[in-house]
Symmetry: C2
Subunit: 398 residues, 2 copies
């Protein structure tokens, strides 16, 4: 991407804005001044209505596009963001904000609690997806954003994108949610809980107050290894790894052959320990598991009644962590609410990771959706070919 | 089952036979006298040809049917074994043998190494599915078994069932494999490796030499929780747990609401720690991950060329740990080898666990298969409605 002339090239580092007032969380607790890390690509127009918010997933951050000085890898959604790209920075002011509870600049468990001068650690409160969105709104207000031309994200970012028009119906024009859901299923909760238990089982976690002594490396690595399996798909793994042997690996004190997939997971686990805070993993997976967009309404459909946005929902055929039926269920609820929605299931063997990898398939769909006039968007309802019934597979649109 | 008049009622405890000679393993190592735990239901006939071997899965043992004195729960496949049941003990001498490397009576890592007088622990060698089968064969020879009327098993037991006719082609009349595979995929290896890493990450594992100090409880519980998620299915979990909250649970030092699925997994993890040896989990999951039935042959089909058995292969539509395409691939290989095979995919939302739960659907299929005359079994090839191509879903037979 570094040599891609359409890319943003080098971008400034992540900025930090401090929300100086106390912030009330859904759980009832209040936290002191909140730092909010963000990046901005493109220019906000005078009307403040060309902002396009991209929301990151569990382990992402505000660095969504371009290269930081001296970095080898661009931001996590660089392939879609830049001049002439699907999220066109000639046209939109693209903004990405690190979520509350994370560890990439925005306040989270590893931050200093201004009321005590000590690291939050085990005292960091539960946060929700809606809390994350409300912090984002505070920053966008500060930046002068009046309307969101679009809010887009995959996985946990897709859930934020769905919450935005529900919380702020008159602010959001378009919603793009990929590989997400309106609520975590028991299977998704189970994977979250196992990841948390892997962390907590590590004595180095020390009840959450391990700061200064290093991440609970062994447990956090296991949690991340599990995460990675859920991000891939059976067929894609067969293609990528097969049963190839990497060489001799030392596990459990004995030297034996190590399959390539085992070496891959080992690498993913180790590198995660060096870059992500274990308590943030606990905080964010809890927020995901607690997420239930329709919970405060008579039905999921009712949650969307006040929204004024058009929705584009993209799923991926081999994504078994966020199976297509989940956003298909959202599409059905939107249709019932009379909201314009386009739902498409893309065929891929990349699994959940596809939302980051299948950009060539996504880009034209996103472009079309962003270019569509409002009156045409209402026709999007027709793109829902049939109402979704139960948990069976949704017919692929492509 | 205790009140089921067709059941076996109270059965004697598990018997132990000692194979007094050294046993050469596939890995090249030799282990001393090997204990072999087994149970037998029904009577072996004079010809020694009415034996029916049932093979257990990862965490199972020799106690397949009937009630042990004072026990509340019958053996693991009681619903299929007994007078008049699918594995009819009026007709067959049903035998179940705890596998090598396990911890229910047969020699495993928790056993005393006769050559040192100390627990094997970290010194227990790698074993393979074929090693397990060869130990079973030694016991069956000792018991006077001349032919196996059938060998049957699900999951790891199904892999043993597939190995039997390949290793001993002139001994096996029928093979019944459920929810199994000819080789572990990288996704299956990944789940195995994560379970192992969860155990190894626990300092209480102590390099495998924890005996006398108790199982590495925290890590083994995480491994088992992961196992249980892979044994269930998304739709079945939604039906069983939904997003219901069990109550307040203490995790990570804080009291918060606990979903029912979290409480279920917690219970499964805890109870497993009390009944299964952590090193056996490492040993058996390695044997599963190493399993590749066709590896020593030009093709999987070639592995079956010498077999004389008829095959019944049953899979379960929602089993994503051992997806139907895997035994469908075996069925295709058998068909190419000209072997009689019946393949059926049963619709269920029980996931991998279905091989233990869907007995009402299985029983008539198994009965029909066992009753079929040999000349009719050859027609079983016709039951393969179309050759399996690639990794797509196999058309359901029922």
């Amino acid at each position: 991407m570094a040599n891609d002339t359409r890319g943003l090239g080098t971008v400034p580092g992540t900025a930090i804005w401090r929300l100086e007032r106390a912030f009330d969380l859904e759980c009832g607790q209040r936290i002191g001044a909140v730092d909010v890390a963000y990046e901005q690509y493109g220019t906000l127009n005078a009307a403040g209505d060309n902002a396009l918010l991209v929301c990151h997933a569990l382990s992402g951050g505000a660095h969504a596009a371009g290269l930081h000085e001296g970095a080898a890898k661009p931001g996590w959604w660089d392939v879609l963001i830049g001049p002439g790209r699907a999220f066109d920075t000639h046209r939109y002011c693209v903004i990405c904000i690190n979520v509350l509870g994370s560890c990439y600049g925005t306040t989270g468990p590893a931050s200093i609690d201004p009321s005590t001068g000590r690291v939050y650690g085990s005292r960091f409160p539960d946060v929700t997806i809606a809390d994350m969105v409300r912090v984002q709104k505070a920053l966008l207000d500060r930046l002068g954003v009046r309307r969101l031309a679009a809010v887009a994200g995959g996985s946990m970012g897709g859930m934020q994108a769905l919450v935005w028009p529900v919380l702020y119906p008159d602010v959001v024009d378009r919603v793009i949610a990929l590989a997400a859901t309106d609520r975590h299923s028991p299977q998704q909760i189970a994977f979250g809980e196992i990841a948390r238990r892997a962390v907590i089982a590590d004595p180095a976690w020390r009840g959450g107050d391990y700061y200064g002594r290093g991440n609970p490396a062994a447990g956090l690595a296991v949690a991340r290894m599990l995460g990675h399996v859920t991000y891939l798909a059976d067929a894609g793994m067969a293609r990528k790894f097969g049963r190839r042997v990497k060489g001799q690996g030392v596990t459990a004190g004995t030297t034996r052959r190590q399959f390539e997939v085992e070496a891959y997971l080992d690498h993913q686990g180790r590198s995660f320990v060096g870059r992500f805070d274990a308590n943030s993993l606990l905080t964010l997976t809890r927020a995901l598991d607690d997420f239930d967009l329709g919970a405060g309404f008579a039905s999921l459909s009712d949650a969307f009644l006040e929204t004024e946005a058009a929705f584009l929902l993209l799923t991926f055929s081999s994504d078994w962590l966020y199976p297509p039926y989940q956003l298909a269920r959202v599409a059905d609820a939107l249709r019932q609410a009379g909201r314009p929605v386009t739902y498409q299931e893309l065929r891929t063997d990349y699994g959940h990771d596809a939302f980051l990898l299948e950009h060539e398939a996504q880009a034209p769909i996103i472009r079309t959706f962003l270019d569509e006039k409002q009156e045409r968007l209402a026709d999007g309802i027709a793109a829902i070919r049939q109402p979704w019934k139960g948990q069976g597979p949704w017919p692929a649109a492509i």
